[in-house]
Symmetry: C2
Subunit: 419 residues, 2 copies
C-alpha cells in the first residue's frame, strides 16, 4: 500500500523540467503599458544619440579659433548674431568673431565648434548690437555633445528577455517605440485539492482550514511575470477531477495543483496523471520542504503537482515553475538569482536532503547576511511573508553554524541566474 518513491537530486529535477521549457509568444503593447513586461525582441537604436552635435549647457556657441588669444588682460569680443533655443536651428551663418546665444540641447550652429558657458561670458549692448567678451581660450570641441557619442544608430541597447524597467522605458521612447513587442504572459492554471480546504470567505469550522495556497501561488505567478487562471478546487471524485483537468488544460500553458501528491489515502494526483496518460518526470525530490513535489508532462505541457504544505508549495513554485515561466518570457537567466551570504544562526541538524530555509537577507556594510525567518517547520505560513530569500543547505553535510558562508537564492530580484 505504501508506494516507494525514489528521491532525485534537486538539480536533476530542475533539469528534467527545463527540458520542456520553451520560448513563448509575442504581442504588441503601447509604450505606456510596457513597464514591467519583457522585451520579445532586441531593442536597437533607430538613430544616433545625440542625433546632432548639441550644447550640453546654456551659453554661447563660438568658433574656437576666435578665442585663441583671449586672456584676463586681453578679453576677446564676439558679436552675438542670433539666439536659438532647444528645438530650434540656427538661421544665420556665423562669421569670424561672431557667436550665437544657445540653450541646453540646441544644435551647434554650422561654423561653431565650442560652447562658452553662460557664466564665463560677459554680455553687453553697444549701438543696438549684442556682444560678449571672454577671458580665456576654448579648444575646438569644448562643451559639445557630439552626434552619436552616446549611442550609434543600429546598436543593440537591450536584448530580448530584458525586463522593462524605467531606464529601458526611456530607451524605448527615445528610439521611437510607440508600440513594443513584449513576451505574452504565460497562463497558468491553479487548482487546489484537499477536503480540508475552505474558501477564504468561509467561516472556520472544526477540522478545516482556509485555502491559502491558491492565493499565494497566484501572487507568485504574478511576481514571475505570468497570468494566473483560477480553476478553483478540484472535485473529490477522480472521474470529475479528471474531466475538470482535461477541460482546463487547452486554455493554459501550465497547470499547477496544490496538494494530493503525497502517499496518503486521499492523495489522488498520481492516479489522475496515470489516467491522463501523462508522463511523471519525478515524484520525489531530495529536498525539504517539498520532497513530494511531482512534475508530469502531457504532450509537452507541464503539470506541476506541488505539495499542499504552504512552504513546500512556495518553494516548489520558485524552483520548478518560475524558470519555465521566465524562459517563456525570453530570459536567458530564468532561475532565481543565486549568491552567498553569511549565516546568522546555527543549523547543526544534519539532513540527508537539501534544505531550503526561508530567510531574510540583508546587506550590512556591503556584506550579505542570511537570517532564517521563523522556525523552519514546513507547515508554518507566517514566515513566508518575511522571507526574501531561500538559504540552501545541501544535504549530506554535518550541518552549518553561524558565520558560515552559505548559498542564498533571492526571491524578489528581477534578475536571475542562468543555472
Amino acid at each position: 500500500m505504501l508506494e516507494k518513491r525514489n528521491p532525485i537530486p534537486v538539480a536533476e529535477a530542475i533539469q528534467k523540467v527545463m527540458l520542456y521549457a520553451r520560448e513563448g509568444e509575442k504581442e504588441r503593447v503601447p509604450l505606456t503599458e510596457a513597464y514591467g513586461r519583457y522585451l520579445a525582441e532586441d531593442l536597437y537604436a533607430d538613430h544616433d544619440v545625440p542625433p546632432f552635435d548639441r550644447s550640453p549647457y546654456d551659453g554661447f556657441a563660438i568658433r574656437a579659433a576666435d578665442s585663441a588669444l583671449a586672456s584676463l588682460d586681453h578679453p576677446v569680443e564676439l558679436e552675438v548674431i542670433e539666439t536659438i533655443g532647444a528645438g530650434q536651428v540656427a538661421a544665420k551663418a556665423v562669421a569670424a568673431f561672431q557667436a550665437v546665444r544657445i540653450m541646453t540641447g540646441a544644435p551647434i550652429p554650422d561654423g561653431c565648434d565650442a560652447v562658452v558657458m553662460l557664466e564665463l561670458a560677459k554680455q553687453y549692448e553697444r549701438n543696438g548690437k549684442t556682444y560678449i567678451s571672454i577671458k580665456r581660450p576654448f579648444r575646438s570641441g569644448d562643451n559639445i555633445s557630439f552626434q552619436g557619442e552616446d549611442v550609434k544608430k543600429g546598436e543593440v541597447l537591450a536584448e530580448k528577455g530584458t525586463f522593462i524597467n524605467p531606464g529601458v522605458q526611456a530607451l524605448l521612447a527615445t528610439f521611437g517605440y510607440s508600440e513594443v513587442k513584449v513576451a505574452q504572459k504565460p497562463k497558468i492554471g491553479i487548482a487546489a485539492t484537499g477536503n480540508e480546504l475552505l474558501d477564504v470567505s468561509e467561516p472556520l469550522v472544526p477540522g478545516k482550514i482556509r485555502n491559502s495556497n491558491a492565493y499565494m501561488i497566484q501572487a507568485q505567478v504574478l511576481r514571475s511575470g505570468a497570468t494566473p487562471v483560477d480553476l478553483g478546487k478540484l472535485p473529490d471524485d477522480p472521474d470529475q477531477c479528471l474531466a475538470a483537468i482535461e477541460q482546463a488544460l487547452p486554455d493554459v500553458d501550465f497547470l499547477i495543483t496544490t496538494g494530493g501528491v503525497s502517499v496518503g489515502d486521499y492523495d489522488y494526483l498520481p492516479v489522475i496523471y496515470e489516467r491522463l496518460g501523462a508522463e511523471v518526470l519525478f515524484n520525489k525530490v531530495a529536498m525539504r520542504p517539498g520532497s513530494v513535489t511531482t512534475v508530469a508532462q502531457l504532450d509537452g505541457k507541464l503539470l506541476f503537482g506541488l505539495s499542499g504544505n504552504p512552504s513546500a508549495c512556495y518553494v516548489g513554485y520558485e524552483l520548478f515553475v518560475r524558470p519555465v515561466v521566465r524562459t517563456m518570457l525570453y530570459s536567458s537567466t530564468p532561475h532565481l538569482y543565486k549568491t552567498k551570504a553569511i549565516l546568522l544562526e546555527d543549523f547543526t541538524k544534519p539532513n540527508p536532503f537539501t534544505r531550503f530555509v526561508r530567510s531574510y537577507v540583508s546587506a550590512q556594510g556591503g556584506q550579505l547576511y542570511a537570517s532564517p525567518v521563523g522556525m523552519d517547520k514546513s507547515n508554518i505560513v507566517t514566515s513566508l511573508a518575511k522571507a526574501n530569500a531561500l538559504t540552501v543547505l545541501p544535504g549530506g553535510t554535518r550541518g552549518f553554524v553561524k558565520g558560515d558562508l552559505v548559498d542564498v537564492w533571492l526571491l524578489d530580484s528581477e534578475e536571475g541566474s542562468a543555472q
Copy 2:
C-alpha cells in the same frame, strides 16, 4: 539676468520635501487584486494557527501511554477503530490500546496525544478488525502540531505599509481577508516642457529629440507604487501653461514637470511657480546630476520641477518623489534602500557636489560590488537601463578609488530605508 541660486545639501532638500509627506487614503480590493499593493491597516490573525491540534504526517493517532512498553522484542498492538482525513473530525471515542488512522492536516482525535508515522507502524487485519503494531514508545505530544503554535489569535502578522508579496497574500487568505484594505495609489501628474520635444511616434527632425522623460517617469511612478496621469506637453505660452497646471492640480496628488527649471531664457517654471503663488522650497541642490531640481508647494501640494536631463530627472524622482509616494502608501521606510558596496572603478575627480553615479550592484561571494554603468555624463540615457543602484559619492572629497567601500542606494528593492 543670471539668477543666483543657493545650493542646499541633498539631505536638507529631502527633509524639506518630507515636511509635506502625509499618509494617503485607503480602499478595499478583492484578495485576488491585492498582490503588489500596500497594507493600509495592520494584518492580524483572526484565529490560532494551527486552529486545532493536528497531525503533520500521515499515520496513526495514539494514546502515548499505551506505547510506553513497546520495544523491538515486545511490540505493542493497537486496534484501529476509525480513519479520518484532512477536513474530517473523529466520530468515536478512543479507548486504551486503540488508534485512529489519520491523514496529514487532520485534527488529533480526543484522547490521543501522539502520532505514529505511517512507516513506523505495521498494519494488519485479524477477525475483520484492523490492527497496528509499534516497536518503540512515543511521548505525549510526539508528532503533533499544536493549536496556536505558529500564530496566536489577535497577533499582528504584518504592519500597515507592508508590501503585499506572495507570503503576505497567503497570510491574508489564511486569516479570511477576502477583501483587503490597501493604500490608494497616489495620482501623479506628469507634464513635459521643452520646445525640442517630439512625441515618441513622431519622426525625428533637425534640432529635436523625442520625449523620453515622460515615459521614464511614468515607469518610475508605477515602480514606486503610484498611478501616472499623463498631462502631455505644457504649452509654450506662460498664460496657457499656468492655466493648464491650475486645471490639472485638483485631480492629482503631486505634479511633476520635466525641464524648464534651469536658468536659461526658456526655463519658465520659476515664473509659473511665482504666478501660481507656490512657495519654492529649493531651486538648487548640491548634487550631480540634478542640481537644478526645484520643488515647490501650493497649499501643501508638492510640485516637483525635475531637470529635463534624463539622468537628472531619474535621480530627482527617486530622491524626492519616491519617499513622499511611499509615505502615502503608509511605509515607515519610504526612502531608497541604503547599503554599501565595494567600488569597482576609480572616481578620482573631486567634486564640490554629491555625485549620484548610475551603477550596477552585484553580489559575489556574499559581498556587494558597484560598477558605474556607462560614462557618467548626465545626458546619457542608455546607462539608466542597466542601473540598479545609485552610488553616492559625497562632495568635497578627494575622489574615490577602486576598492573603496562606498554608499549605494538600491533602485529595485521593494524594501526601503527610514532615512
